[in-house]
Symmetry: C2
């Protein structure tokens, strides 16, 4: 068997921090970013250009982007929610922005105060604006595999938004199981179709482990040929709507599973686990990832 290479997009500092009540200081963010780079991460989503009133943890977005380590090897990205975010990201000097719309009309209205139709129109404008600023843009779709408000999502809507994203000319598409409601059978049904639609446009999968299916969904997606995943160190993240909901699949747990299955990532799992350990200490509460906890026992043996 060859060792297919998997791309990991680290999102702990964006998806992970936005739901915390405590604000991680800028110097700590920069230190974590440097350590993630040292651990072998080559794609890191570092912040979100969102109004500080909504997400105070991201108030330092511009300053953070201006302070990023210079590295030709690492691609930094920022989430943007609207045209203003695209403008701010461009001014801050980030080269890749991520923008997404929800496949659930109810979620879109409650979360972004836009109907699906309005969100699609605004997305198109954002892509156009990003182009003007020579930014690359990653188009995301949220709630692809289920919505806490609507339950199951009509798959036809997902395919339709995918085509819309492609028509807009995004460089990459990320499909998000934002709620962790997806299951492996669903992955195997929907992903081949989505991969086919996307053709040569790279596809990424953003998985949450809210219902303990995140890693099973990861393996199902690997079987379908997905080769890029969003993760967060320590499994940070989580849905702000749901108390106790756990976050993204953990970077170190994902990397360990991938390596065991014969995939390569270029990532030092133990170095990522050490970052999660420090994050737990700063936060004063355990994170959802399991590997970093296990590795606190220095003598533990892994396969």
């Amino acid at each position: 068997m060859n060792s297919p290479s998997i791309i990991i997009d680290e999102q702990g500092l964006r998806d992970g921090l936005q739901t915390l009540t405590r604000i991680l200081p800028l110097e700590m963010k920069l230190d974590f970013i440097q350590r993630l780079m040292n651990a072998g991460l080559r794609r890191i989503q570092v912040t979100s250009f969102v109004h500080p009133k909504w997400v105070p943890a991201m108030a330092d977005a511009a300053q953070l982007c201006a302070s990023l380590p210079q590295s030709g090897e690492v691609e930094f990205s920022a989430l943007v929610l609207n045209n203003k975010g695209v403008e701010r990201a461009a001014q801050a000097g980030i080269r890749l922005v991520a923008a997404s719309i929800s496949a659930s009309d109810t979620h879109s209205k409650k979360n972004a105060n836009k109907t699906l139709l309005e969100a699609r129109q605004e997305f198109k404008e954002m892509v156009s604006l990003a182009r003007q600023h020579q930014l690359s843009i990653r188009g995301g779709i949220q709630c692809v595999f289920g919505c806490r408000y609507e339950g199951a999502i009509d798959e036809a809507v997902v395919y339709d938004i995918t085509k819309h994203h492609l028509d807009c000319g995004v460089e990459e598409i990320a499909f998000a199981d934002s709620t962790g409601m997806g299951n492996p059978a669903q992955m195997k049904r929907m992903l081949p179709r989505l991969l086919e639609l996307c053709g040569t446009v790279p596809v990424s999968l953003h998985l949450h482990n809210t219902e303990n299916k995140g890693y099973a969904n990861l393996v199902a997606a690997l079987d379908c040929g997905v080769r890029q995943f969003d993760t967060a160190f320590g499994g940070l993240g989580g849905c702000p709507f749901i108390q106790g909901a756990t976050g993204n699949i953990a970077t170190e747990d994902t990397v360990h599973l991938l390596h065991q299955m014969g995939y390569t990532t270029g990532i030092d799992m133990e170095a990522v686990a050490a970052i999660s350990m420090d994050m737990q200490q700063w936060l004063g509460a355990p994170l959802p990832g399991l590997l970093y906890t296990l590795l606190q026992n220095k003598e533990v043996r892994l396969n």
Copy 2:
């Protein structure tokens, strides 16, 4: 697609309690057992006939067995570790005993103070003794997919013990990923061979989620045709050797995943989650399962 039926063997009251420092009172055990039955569980491992000096939580094993609800529908089992345990189980009136040996010589020596060869010989005697008492016996193999002391386990040893168990005449074989070190690729490599060896003898898989791979391994095993799994409500359990290691795959999380994938279990997932919630309250600490936490939000919508 048909809806294949999956058998769930609930082990929370045995594998779950043995590592806790607090002792669950007999009445609470019996109440949990009744509620598990009401939730649709049809196989429940209720206790372990082990010396109370080693596992004080199981000191009430005989009394518990004598107090079990009468039900022709539910099969109760008890773990036994040696001939004395078989005798005690027979006296207590349990009809199914589970006995296992480790695939790791080092684990066997440290955990059971027996070499692999001694364990095999003793296992044979236990099967013979169980026969004399007209007990059914389930033969287990521990550390099938990895050992914290030895690391990878020689697969040939696992196949060899399997043949030994079959030669002894066990009614069923359970393969345990006791350490949670297994991965889906390994499942897909080893399980077809193990299923073939076992022929018409039922095969069960005992999975731990220690490294966040438990549910991915479950799905891989389903793909291989395994139709019986050990689980523990709330994901109780865990390896006594490793601080912070999480336990068995959770009954409710497993059932939810199975139902979503089109399998039937006959189990009311929410009723099991309610038991886990009460267990958490008694314990005063969160359990590793995720569904019961999510379901605390009464309005949460599941697919």
